[in-house]
Symmetry: C2
């Protein structure tokens, strides 16, 4: 967000409140561009042609042993999961709490795994629904295996696509981190959902879904079980959320039919972002109820997709208030019609 030279003013600036967290976003379309002007092809990730890819050849490049592998009919593998060789969180230690003067710390106990699909040059936007369903299957299978481990209180599953989105290896892959703390963003959503339920006796996400399905102006895609839409208070241009239409607190309880529907909604959302924005960098991640031994009946799991079309600058870093330069309604219309 900057004092960039832009086109004519079309709409006044608007502050929109996130119904769940209470946070504000700024929709500043006075700096408006046409939707197609947001296109920003991701930068290439440098790869040494003389070295084998870590993920095409996990054994040859000394990766950790698989914890999960799916095979194709021809005997080759189609998806593998293995621990990160350079993990941010490691399973071998107990959670040890530490103090330094007024401060608190603890060991980074946990699990950090990589979920890798077979083809180096085939990204989710180019996959078919069954290939994406296999990724969703792997997310769920690893989630269920780790959710009851001692010291694991939250499992974060995410996908970085493109250099600007933080990927340093070009081969498509997702990551899973099982960690001992509940993150502040998830905690904010849990608290918001809890408070809304106390006041209104129903789920805040269900209220949003009902409104969006009735009015359609921010819908990108829907099928029987899932809705993909641009949130009213989008934090990023072309942000898309994929949510189960029915009230579902726990991702791990998604059944086979729902997983196919999820794969379809996720694949089409990402494909349309790919087409609309000329193969941009993006992140997506899953927010679901913690696995800390408590129940979260009022939470509603979902996937948030954030295309990377701008850098966070001082205002966003300072305030946590994001400035988006396209109306979510205009973004949804553009994505829907790809």
């Amino acid at each position: 967000m900057e004092e960039k030279n832009t086109k004519n003013k079309t709409q006044p600036t608007e502050l929109r409140q996130d119904l769940v967290t209470g946070d504000w976003v700024v929709i500043a379309t006075g700096r408006a561009k046409r939707p197609e002007d947001f296109a920003k092809k991701r930068a290439p990730i440098e790869e040494d042609p003389n070295k084998p890819c870590f993920f095409c050849y996990p054994e040859e490049t000394g990766q950790e042993k698989d914890v999960l592998m799916y095979e194709r009919a021809d005997g080759d593998w189609s998806l593998r999961v293995f621990p990160n060789k350079y993990p941010a969180f490691e399973p071998e230690k107990k959670v040890k709490h530490k103090e330094e003067g007024p401060y608190f710390a603890m060991d980074g106990t946990g699990y950090h795994e990589l979920i890798v699909t077979r083809d180096h040059h085939r990204q989710i936007a180019q996959m078919n629904v069954l290939e994406v369903a296999e990724i969703v299957d792997a997310y769920q299978e690893r989630y269920i295996d780790l959710m009851n481990k001692k010291s694991v209180n939250y499992i974060e599953i995410f996908h970085n696509h493109g250099k600007e989105a933080g990927a340093s290896i070009g081969h498509p892959h997702s990551q899973l981190m099982a960690i001992p703390v509940i993150s502040p963003y998830v905690q904010g959503e849990l608290d918001g959902a809890e408070n809304y339920h106390k006041a209104n006796k129903h789920c805040v996400y269900c209220a949003i879904i009902e409104w969006e399905l009735e009015h359609k102006k921010r819908v990108v895609f829907e099928n029987e079980h899932f809705l993909a839409y641009c949130p009213f208070s989008s934090r990023a241009a072309f942000e898309v959320w994929v949510v189960p239409k029915k009230h579902k607190p726990y991702f791990e309880r998604t059944n086979d039919k729902e997983k196919i529907a999820l794969a379809e909604a996720l694949q089409i959302s990402i494909k349309n972002i790919f087409k609309a924005l000329d193969d941009p960098a993006y992140n997506f991640y899953l927010h679901t109820s913690p696995c800390d031994g408590k129940d979260y009946p009022h939470f509603h799991w979902h996937i948030e997709i954030l295309p990377h079309t701008a850098n966070w600058a001082g205002f966003e870093l300072s305030t946590g208030i994001e400035i988006s330069t396209i109306q979510p309604e205009v973004a949804a219309d553009f994505l829907r019609n790809q």
Copy 2:
């Protein structure tokens, strides 16, 4: 944050808690690099040599009229403040609240100004203390002018340096946004300071400052009135905070002597980041008490400087938990000795 190939492991991963907000950061030095390996020269901002710079020639390029100008002895200007021609917030409207179904919104009423120094190629790292003191003076003068305006509840002052930090114009400048809401990050710090004071009967920032001054291991610079240090729970590699040593809730009450001391601490911190990391992109911003008509006796204003040495990836975006790959103690030692 990614599964990058890195050097030998030196320290186990650690989760550190922010004493004010309760948020966690990850210090993952298993992916450790030497401090000098974090150097990342900012990318150049393209400038058309045939067009005059907006900020070298505000009149010629049709910028808005100055609201503040400082002159040099030779009659030329040394600093100017003018409204952003393409503002994210605009003063002309009343705050109008809106509803759409379950959602709330309001007009983006406020002020958005640019604080511009004279020399196109002279950044803060290269300025002398008096030049930086002039910038601090302008921040305070504009703050005081706007703090009592109707509809202004918080004033955000920040500086984006380099393309990766969100700057789109190469000429050094800061920005001020006076807005009708209190941002979630500031609110988190206000709440944290309030809760800590309730429990401990003193200011949480004062407790941090006392500890840091006693142990020195995260100190980057200090003078009579200010401390610059790398926070225990740094969110970014080489993050530096500049804080008044005495308990001070309100930036606008900073006196002349303190302003010179602040300018010195800020300039030396930025100069050492410039030298240590080879002129990287960075953001800094001021967090002070809101100007919403209430008192905040337990808050402690400060400036946060965030060098831009890595992109936020899926884990950080999803969780709000940041993964830093250098210990703040090591970063502080490296910065201190530039």
